[in-house]
């Protein structure tokens, strides 16, 4: 029997209720094994799921590094330790992103050769596999060498998870020409171009997320997070504007009834809930970071991602990407 996935029951805007409900659905609908990690007196009904008890919670606004050191019996730290100790196949949390990353980094450790772990976030694209954004927010300050590693790891992730052969890698900039961009982008462009193992196709721009001509978009964590949140905000506005327009009068409501049948599948594909979670690449274990506002559906999908990553042996493949000489 496969190891359970350790789920931080205390992390997220709608924790613990939606988190536990998502776990229950993952067990019932996907057949996954899930262990909740949480504070019993704060969790409520665990809906019949296994619980690893702890006594502390890292809050959304706690300092990431300091909280992991101070709250050693928190749900986040304990979840990371279950992975480290071989008692869980992966950890999933919708809690404090920085603390989730710190817990995974400090308890599981980095893969040999990895400068810094990074967050890879899938962005759905209609009629094709998602484009992944890396780094989506783990490292505000980056060097060209870090971005090259992010691109390498994300490329392996896409090839493994989505079955894309030789994923196309684009570097986020303010123009397609190699001479465009800041010092970091121009230096990174040069390094990526010289890397024969990567299918680097050049610079891409902010308009190239949906639809995207590439499979991987690499950037620093500051820019990546701003781009991701901008995209989320814009999509949310568009959905809201369409709904408002449809509700204008009886005539538009009738038109809406006809259109929604076709619009709904596109809209549901583009919501963050459908993707479930972003993976932290570069640590010695599986850590899936879910959106802070995750509901039960998002948590179920994050658990599904964790299971797929585990079965795809993504971490072992990432290790070989960074240190190909370590192949057996």
């Amino acid at each position: 029997m496969s190891l359970p996935i350790a789920l931080d029951a205390m992390g997220g805007d709608f924790a613990p209720k939606e988190i536990i409900a998502g776990a229950r659905r993952a067990v019932d609908e996907l057949g996954l094994a899930v262990t909740l990690v949480g504070v019993p007196e704060l969790m409520g009904d665990p809906l019949g799921l296994d619980v690893v008890e702890c006594s502390e919670v890292i809050a959304m606004d706690d300092d990431p590094g300091a909280s992991v050191r101070k709250k050693k019996d928190s749900s986040l730290v304990r979840a990371a330790e279950l992975v480290r100790d071989g008692k869980a196949s992966a950890m999933v949390s919708a809690g404090n992103t920085g603390a989730t990353m710190a817990s995974a980094l400090l308890r599981m450790g980095r893969l040999p050769g990895v400068h810094r772990p990074c967050i890879v976030t899938p962005i759905p694209n209609p009629h094709r596999t998602p484009v992944v954004l890396v780094d989506a927010g783990a490292n505000a300050e980056c060097t060209p060498e870090m971005l090259v590693q992010f691109a390498q790891m994300a490329s392996t992730y896409v090839a493994t998870r989505y079955g894309v052969a030789a994923p196309k890698v684009g570097l986020l900039s303010i123009g397609e020409e190699a001479t465009k961009g800041n010092t970091l982008v121009k230096a990174t462009h040069q390094l990526l171009r010289e890397l024969p193992t990567l299918n680097f196709v050049g610079n891409v721009e902010g308009r190239d997320f949906i639809p995207s001509p590439v499979d991987v978009i690499v950037t620093d964590g500051f820019t990546g997070n701003v781009a991701l949140k901008t995209l989320e905000g814009a999509l949310k506005f568009v959905f809201s504007a369409v709904l408002d327009a449809v509700g204008t009068n009886e005539q538009t409501k009738v038109a809406g009834d006809v259109l929604f049948e076709h619009l709904w599948p596109v809209a549901s594909q583009l919501t963050p809930d459908s993707q479930g979670g972003a993976m932290l690449l570069g640590v010695q274990g599986i850590c899936i970071i879910s959106h802070g506002s995750s509901n039960a559906t998002a948590i179920m999908n994050a658990l599904r991602v964790a299971d797929e990553v585990d079965k795809g042996e993504v971490v072992a493949k990432l290790a070989l990407t960074i240190r190909p000489d370590q192949a057996a």
């Binding site: 590094g65 300091a66 992991v68 990353m101 710190a102 400068h115 300050e141």
Partner: protein, 94 residues
């Protein structure tokens, strides 16, 4: 990486320990890490420093049971020299 606990620990030993741990965390050559260099110049962010602190606590526990670096003290440590002096003072070695 663990320190050689059979050797007596002096200030030079602490310097080697700090340097080696930083080199491992930052994926740099130990020779690039001199005593004068600042953490900022090494590219060590707050998480890297937490990694260093945890590694030092683990290694130095064999010399001093329960060896602990206070998070509040971290703010005052800006360079390799600061870290070495801090640990030496805590362990009362010269």
């Amino acid at each position: 990486m663990s320190a050689d606990t059979t050797a007596p620990l002096d200030r030079d030993g602490i310097l080697v320990l700090v340097r080696d741990q930083l080199a491992e965390i930052l994926e740099k050559s130990p020779s690039d890490i001199t005593e004068d260099v600042s953490f900022e110049d090494l590219g060590a962010d707050s998480l890297a420093l937490i990694e260093l602190v945890e590694a030092l606590e683990e290694n130095l526990a064999t010399y001093s049971a329960g060896f602990h670096i206070d998070d509040e003290d971290l703010e005052g440590l800006g360079s390799v020299r600061d870290a070495v002096n801090y640990v030496a003072l805590k362990l009362q070695v010269s």
